[in-house]
Symmetry: C2
Subunit: 572 residues, 2 copies
């Protein structure tokens, strides 16, 4: 973070920047009100890769507590990290003086001034008087048959290792390692120099490095276990973020329920989930990352986007040309995507795994034929990925496409199908920047929803190990691992890694401003043919009755049902 603040310090004193501020309508004595979010330059062919550069996205704060994102400036200084100087300024052909609109703030004084806080929210208290249901030994969490090591590094943030599930006394491997390995946020405005806005927040900055300390203790509710994050920083020394990782349980609603209509015998069982989370701030945006374990064997990744839109200046009445939205007078929020790459190193009952693409398909035979008279036949079509090249695949919603990570050496005794975990992910937009263009070249991982590679020690980073100022000529990371000779290796029945790109396309609107309500996206890793039955049947029910207990109740006029020990709900 210190690095970032140096840029701001330098721009405020640079005469060329001061000159541009004056042109923008900012008095030269107001340079302490000028703010700079330094982004790594991405790649700019004019300057190449030899000198470490930052592009300074510039803002103005009329008053110390105003949000600077309502006062974007229209020029972009380039900062040389080696000489600590401004070496260039990108100035647009059409100038846009600093916004004259009143501030659009979200802090308490602003809310109080505009009507105050709502007073009709009664507290919800969530307590665990007997403590939590998990144990922590060093960095290993045990909870509800799950066991997981919680790692952390400057880049990926939380890394989950050695994830196992205790299946009736047998500790079974599920995943060797799970992480968010990379992300890219391409912006869709083709006007220079906005094409450089396509941050790789993990590879260029580090999701761990930017993680919030939750020391104030109020991002989550209930009984929280915090872990610190310790990692090596850019200077090579150790750094600690206190309370970086939040670990807590939440009620998860109905886990299962069934009523028999004949006799009203019923079972209803409530679920519980374990969340291991961190929040990181990437300049204007925040990313809240939740790794969620469920009692039914499901692992869920949820990402919530919040924080503040990246904004750019616009003149009154200016046409955004469809590349952005005026979210407040004088504030243009450009179209963008948030594309995440999840790295899944499966260990489904051991490291020898194989990936299948699974598509729902209509059965053969036309309507009226003997084999499909009524046309209702359908089945799960499975395509085995034999090589990395074959594994390059996109999402298809119409076939309910999923991807299964299987151990073909172990079959479910009932279904006869290989034990597996399937990836169920529905938020999978196409990479919108065009083939052959800058983002497409640099963010090769984002061209497709799924790539599978043979495990290699040095393949952790889907856009390459070193990302800043790579040109994408040639592309780093995944495109290399799935093409040429590497792309022809066998990935059957061996130690493999599945890389999954998911995310959203974001066309801003005024509702997202001045701070954005959290936008959630989620994906599931679900056991299929892994267990012999629903593994959560032994979770104590909140209510259960059987046909025989119902019968006894009818005869005696009382009793019959088993109530759980959990205090039940209160009617109001």
């Amino acid at each position: 973070m210190e690095d970032l603040q140096i840029v701001e310090h330098v721009v405020r004193q640079d005469p060329k920047v001061i000159e541009q501020c004056v042109i923008s309508g900012i008095p030269r004595e107001d340079m302490h009100k000028v703010y700079c979010d330094p982004w790594t330059i991405g790649y700019d062919e004019r300057f190449g890769s030899k000198v470490r550069l930052q592009q300074g996205l510039m803002y103005y704060r009329p008053n110390i507590d105003d949000s600077q994102y309502s006062y974007p400036l229209d020029f972009v200084p380039i900062f040389n990290c080696d000489t600590q100087e401004i070496t260039h300024i990108d100035i647009p052909p059409v100038r846009r003086p600093v916004n004259k609109a009143p501030p659009n703030n979200y802090h308490p004084a602003a809310i109080e001034a505009s009507g105050g806080y709502r007073k009709d929210l009664k507290p919800i208290n969530i307590t665990q008087p007997e403590g939590v249901s998990f144990t922590v030994k060093n960095r290993v969490i045990e909870w509800q048959n799950w066991k997981v090591h919680v790692g952390f590094n400057y880049r990926e943030g939380i890394v989950l290792n050695n994830i196992t599930y205790n299946d009736k006394g047998t500790e079974r491997g599920v995943f060797y390692r799970l992480s968010l390995a990379e992300m890219v946020v391409p912006y869709g405005n083709p006007e220079h120099p906005h094409h450089r806005k396509h941050a790789f927040d993990l590879g260029e900055y580090g999701g761990g490095y930017m993680t919030n300390s939750l020391a104030v203790g109020c991002d989550c509710k209930g009984a929280i276990h915090y872990m610190d994050a310790d990692f090596v920083n850019k200077a090579g020394s150790s750094q600690t973020i206190k309370n970086a990782i939040c670990i807590h349980e939440e009620d998860a609603g109905i886990l299962f329920k069934h009523t028999d209509f004949r006799d009203d015998s019923v079972i209803v069982t409530r679920g519980r989930k374990l969340l291991i989370s961190h929040v990181f701030t990437a300049a204007n945006y925040e990313y809240c990352v939740y790794w969620i374990f469920h009692q039914d064997g499901t692992v869920q990744l949820e990402v919530k986007l919040t924080g503040i839109l990246n904004t750019y200046a616009m003149n009154p009445g200016e046409d955004t040309k469809g590349w952005g939205t005026q979210v407040y007078p004088g504030v243009n929020a450009h179209n963008h995507q948030h594309l995440f790459c999840m790295r899944i190193d499966p260990n489904i009952d051991g490291p020898a795994n194989t990936v299948f693409q699974v598509d729902a398909r209509q059965g053969a035979g036309e309507v009226g034929s003997t084999e499909n008279k009524y046309g209702n036949a359908f089945y799960a079509h499975r395509t085995k990925f034999r090589t990395p090249q074959e594994s390059v695949s996109d999402y298809d919603g119409s076939t309910s496409r999923t991807w299964e990570m299987c151990n073909e050496g172990k079959l479910n005794p009932y279904s006869g199908k290989p034990v597996s975990y399937k990836l169920v992910s529905r938020e999978v937009p196409a990479l919108l920047p065009k083939g052959g263009g800058l983002v497409w070249k640099r963010a090769g991982f984002a061209r497709h929803a799924v790539h599978v590679t043979k495990y290699q020690d040095d393949q952790l980073h889907p856009a390459g190990r070193h990302v800043p100022q790579t040109s994408g000529d040639p592309s780093q990371g995944i495109p290399n691992w799935v093409s040429g000779e590497a792309g022809q290796q066998s990935i059957e029945n061996t130690d493999i890694v599945l890389w999954h790109t998911f995310g959203i396309t974001h066309f801003p609107s005024p509702e997202d401003y001045p701070v954005m309500p959290a936008e959630p996206m989620t994906l599931l890793l679900r056991p299929r043919n892994f267990f012999e039955r629903n593994p959560a049947l032994d979770v104590p029910p909140s209510y259960a009755s059987t046909p025989s207990s119902q019968l006894a109740k009818a005869k005696s006029g009382g009793g019959g049902a088993i109530h759980g020990s959990d205090p039940s709900s209160v009617s109001v």
Copy 2:
């Protein structure tokens, strides 16, 4: 429910059924252990539409508390509702005697016998000591600027009417009416008579009629307000389900957060949601329906599937041919889809609304061109639906497709775009039964993700008002409303209805058995260009500090931040 039990009573005494039971290996003195789930016949061309018929899906319970779904029988009696007789039995060419496997039960005695309940779950208590944040007057709920009338009928279950949002003192229309209007569950096994398994649970049975009474009070946690459901039943008399509708609040996690990296000024605000829900039991399956209101103006529909798979008999070693999965020895669970049709009657600042399909598209100009030099241009392409015929559309994940319901007569003052709500729905499989086949003809609504019609008083039921034993020749409901003359009406700037089909394709696995962990699916109706800013900024933050308060704190060594009144979390 009485109707259903009559069928079971009759089959147990019918000599032809008894004969089939004996062939299946059930002693004739055990007929009280034979169970029947009567499904409406769907449509069977041999019997036509003139006589009301039920198909009896047959099961056996070795002991009163055993789940009958582990002992499916292989024949299907046809019950004539008028004469209350068995008029026919469908007998498969290959016989499958009753299952010999031990029971697979989920009730407490069975769990105790196989190791007992887990003992390591500590309670989570959720309390609202000051009461709830909503008010109820008759059937109108007010909560966090929302106002909604909660209706209920035998067919759709919960119906939400007159949904408005109080925007700083102005009560603005959002939706006139929301409901789940129809559903179909087609099974994918083409062997006779499984093609008849494609229940329209709302149109043939009634989601209201089958709703669970939550009188035991333990399906939800916290402070619950229950509403009874009163409706007219088949006999024409009034019927009440006590505590049919559950209304309660839940904590919703982070609503928004932002930290400024320079000064660590921060705001974090927790969200709250209001859930209006019911659970209905459709023979073996349960559907949990949650209508969820959020503080940021979003309306969410979540459906959880739980209960028990529909099962059919299989012989040891029998090949399921890909049409199903052996989930337990002798138990074949067939492939199926759950396709729901949501009826949305928008009222976006009044009834004159228009629907646009919105797709993310790459900008014009090849990489290297003046207008798109780096290839990064993309925008939201909007297609106006001018007629019902034009509105027939499918989901496209690659373009992040959404559908916007707009009031073109009212533009957002900042963005200049029409006020709107967009439908964000990502679980939208194609209807798998083939074009021209039985299900395709009867479930016309499910052929496409979206249809838009001009509002008509008598158009409430997407598969037709009367569904049982319709042949689909011609198709009832939506296909008629979007074709011919009706399909050419103008749906611009008028009172319209959007019909949305969503759901999942379900290939069963042993984890889903003997009772299925809840499988959630969800969709959002989100305000876009409807508000001038994030409408939840006045929700009291759990923590807030400003640059100036941080500065003061740094100078004084104390204070600065505003803590919310909510008790914050406890570290463990």
